[in-house]
Amino acid sequence: MNAFASPGETPLLAIDDLHVTFSTRRGLVEAVCGVSLQVAAGETLGIVGESGSGKSVTAFAVTRLLDASGRIAAGKVRFKGQDITSASSKQLRSLHGAAISMIFQNPRGALNPIRTVALQIADAVGAHERISASEGRARALDLLKAVLIRDPEKRLDAYPHELSGGMCQRIMIAMAIASRPALLIADEPTTGLDVTTQKTVMDLLARITAERGMAMILITHDLGLAARYCDRVAVMQHGKVVEEAEPRSLFRAPRHDYTKRLVAASPTATSKIADLAPSSLREGASDEAIQEGGANPSGLLRSARNDGEVKPAPGTPLLLEVQSLVKRYDGGVVAVNDVSFAIRQGESLGLVGESGSGKSTISRLVCRLIDASEGEILFDGQPIGQQAARDFHKSPLRKDIQIVFQDPTDSLNPRFNAFDCIAHPLRRLLAMKDGAALSERVRECAARAGLPAELLERFPHQLSGGQKARVGIARAIACRPRLLVLDEPTAALDVSVQAVILQLLDSLRREDGMALLFVSHDLNVVRMMCDRTVVLQNGAIVEQGESLALFRAPQAPYTRQLLDAVLHLDGPGQRDAVVAGS
């Protein structure tokens, strides 16, 4: 089955027809259905898939660390020929850490919050050999040096909460390699980390596995990450491996339909909005898109037709002008420091930065949900910063500035159904009364956001992530705002859902002539969506300009650093380059 392992040789890890079931309130659910994979010594295998594809479950089944409700229903997992699925708990204990170890998503949560770094690493060493306390500390120091932590001596007595997310992940790596395992399983190791941190952590992992001849299974939702760091990639969907190949051929010429859609939906440095779901594939658009019944909202076809630039002409008047905005929080933290920018009518402006850059604060300031400490905000020439945020709901301009939030779940009132969510601004801001006109308008907004009318009766917990995002968008466009603030609108969504939502937003903008303030950490998305881009760092503007020019020739070193960390699907021999370069 595996064309890459040399024949006759036992692979390091062989997964053979693995089935995993979970017992839930609705009965047994099969999360992994017949996965077969092999990993050779020293090789890096990527497992790529969207949420619910069974990729993490596979990893936990391999190490027998499934939750109590999960069970390996059938299949074999052999490590160096030894069957793991039938191993005793004693055998498992000697396997864990010493033969196979794991690193996890959310590194801070994966570390014991009330134990020092040195003790935790010493625990990991001590699990498989007898060592004294002082030896444990010495080994911990060596390992900290191996994972390139700055000031390792100082970090020994630190607790996880005193360290950054990236540092916690390095410590996790140190613990995972403490007993020299032959296989490292990394489950979404950089999800939730900033792009620049992601790059350093991944480079470290690649280097360590190469130096120590360890094999690695990298589980990720990010195709770019898999392309850059893996020798071989398996794509999973609905608990099955649909395609398995070398990254270059996989991403250049995907064979399976799902892989094709996934590759298309992943924004790259050159892709255009229309490319995210090419028309040839649109019939069978992503599964969630079909489930949510928004497979073919009118906007998609239109955006494909109308592919040209929609940049407003140079003479277009300014819609929003932000002048020397400062936001200080109690305790003297300056979240936003002297920020100025402007948006023309119908223009789309991107706000890019890592966590802590102040981009979310700016979106709330512009939306007049919080008050600025200093500076002025002009909307259509009127100073709207004068009116306190507390009273801004009375302003006639309230309906002209609307916002779409990052987490679709968090942004919907759990006690309102979809209809009431969308009707809410209409009732409040346009004083519409219940009746035919209101429900007509709600239905229209829902349709424009690609939300089928039959879902309007549902409550948020009965909707999928993509559907909730559509409700949030329908609510924001209900009053036909002139400025729509989008605060990481797709950060919590899978790539294929992200693709349709981005296309939807783009077409809505073209139809209504809205201006967009698009806040994101994803440079590829911003480049596609925005005419101009502002780069933020630590609350201040580093650089701003036309998106195309800015991304082609970044001026500020920080912008260049951000761009370097962006992953590409097609680059020649990337993993070797990473390893050789380090």
Partner: protein, 282 residues
């Protein structure tokens, strides 16, 4: 109650028989509290000295006390007073606590600090001792038992509502409501309170049991309700004198009544948590 909520409740009760039993028990208690005095076999107050201190029998289901009064009749009649004290105390503290707590949680600032200080002072007393002191100071009357019980419950409701509102204050849907033109006040009343109330309803049910124990404890030590009135705490206190001579029924039956009542409300509270949690709905 909408039909969906009703269906959901039935579904939950079917899957959770303990809650169903607790709900039935609470219902029976409330019925007894209303019609109890008119169905009991004996006069709960009139003494019948020749029949004093009879053990439980077919005639006297729960025996008789030192004055020959039927313990069972007294138990049933006492339900009204015990439930009324607890229910009014909890209602009072719930209403005050929900409003004060939500405002503190949403507004924060000076109001929050002052209320917080007040709550700290209340919480610095052991609560039963505080209730004792208040009844002593306000006067030894039933109303004051209600007030004292309400006041010692208040900090929990304030803190609970405050915390619940505080975690939701910055939720996306709250900001969204403001972007849709709601004022702060409207956000608190129309958005936050409805989301917080279910969790507080659970608290109310759990609290009812506690309030009953508390009121019974106060009357056990001789505060509040006074002698001939049938009340579970007093009945235990009167029976305590005879326990060393083996007259167990004077203590055991009122004790059982207290225990079952509190158990009902506690189990009901746990069940309510499941019913009112919209995420559990299918």
């Amino acid at each position: 109650m909408t039909s969906a909520t009703f269906r959901h409740t039935v579904w939950i009760l079917r899957g959770n028989p303990v809650t169903a039993v607790a709900a039935a028990g609470a219902f029976i208690l409330c019925v007894l509290a209303i019609i109890g005095p008119s169905i009991v076999p004996y006069d709960p107050i009139a003494s019948d000295v020749p029949n004093a201190l009879q053990p439980p029998s077919a005639k006297y289901w729960a025996g008789t006390d030192q004055l020959g009064r039927d313990v069972f009749s007294r138990l049933v009649v006492a339900a009204r007073l015990d439930l009324a004290i607890a229910a009014s105390a909890v209602t009072l503290s719930f209403a005050l606590g929900a409003v004060i707590g939500s405002l503190c949680g949403y507004i924060g600032g000076r109001l929050d600090r002052y209320v917080g200080r007040f709550v700290d002072v209340l919480m610095a007393f052991p609560l039963f001792v505080l209730a004792m002191a208040m009844v002593a100071a306000l006067g030894n009357r039933v109303e004051n038992i209600v007030i004292a019980t309400a006041i010692i419950n208040l900090p929990f409701y304030i803190r609970f509502a405050r915390a619940e509102v505080n975690v939701r204050r910055n939720a996306g849907w709250v900001e969204a409501a403001r972007a849709c033109g709601d004022s702060h006040l409207s956000v608190v009343l129309r958005f936050l309170l409805p989301n917080v109330l279910p969790a507080m309803a659970v608290q109310v049910s759990l609290n009812l049991g506690w309030a009953i124990l508390n009121a019974a404890g106060l009357s056990f030590i001789g505060l509040g309700v006074s002698a001939p009135t049938p009340e579970w705490g007093i009945m235990v206190a009167e029976g305590a004198r005879f326990i060393s001579t083996g007259k167990w029924w004077l203590v055991a039956f009122p004790g059982l009544a207290l225990m079952l009542t509190v158990l009902c409300f506690n189990l009901l509270g746990d069940g309510l948590r499941d019913i009112l949690d919209p995420r559990m709905r299918t």
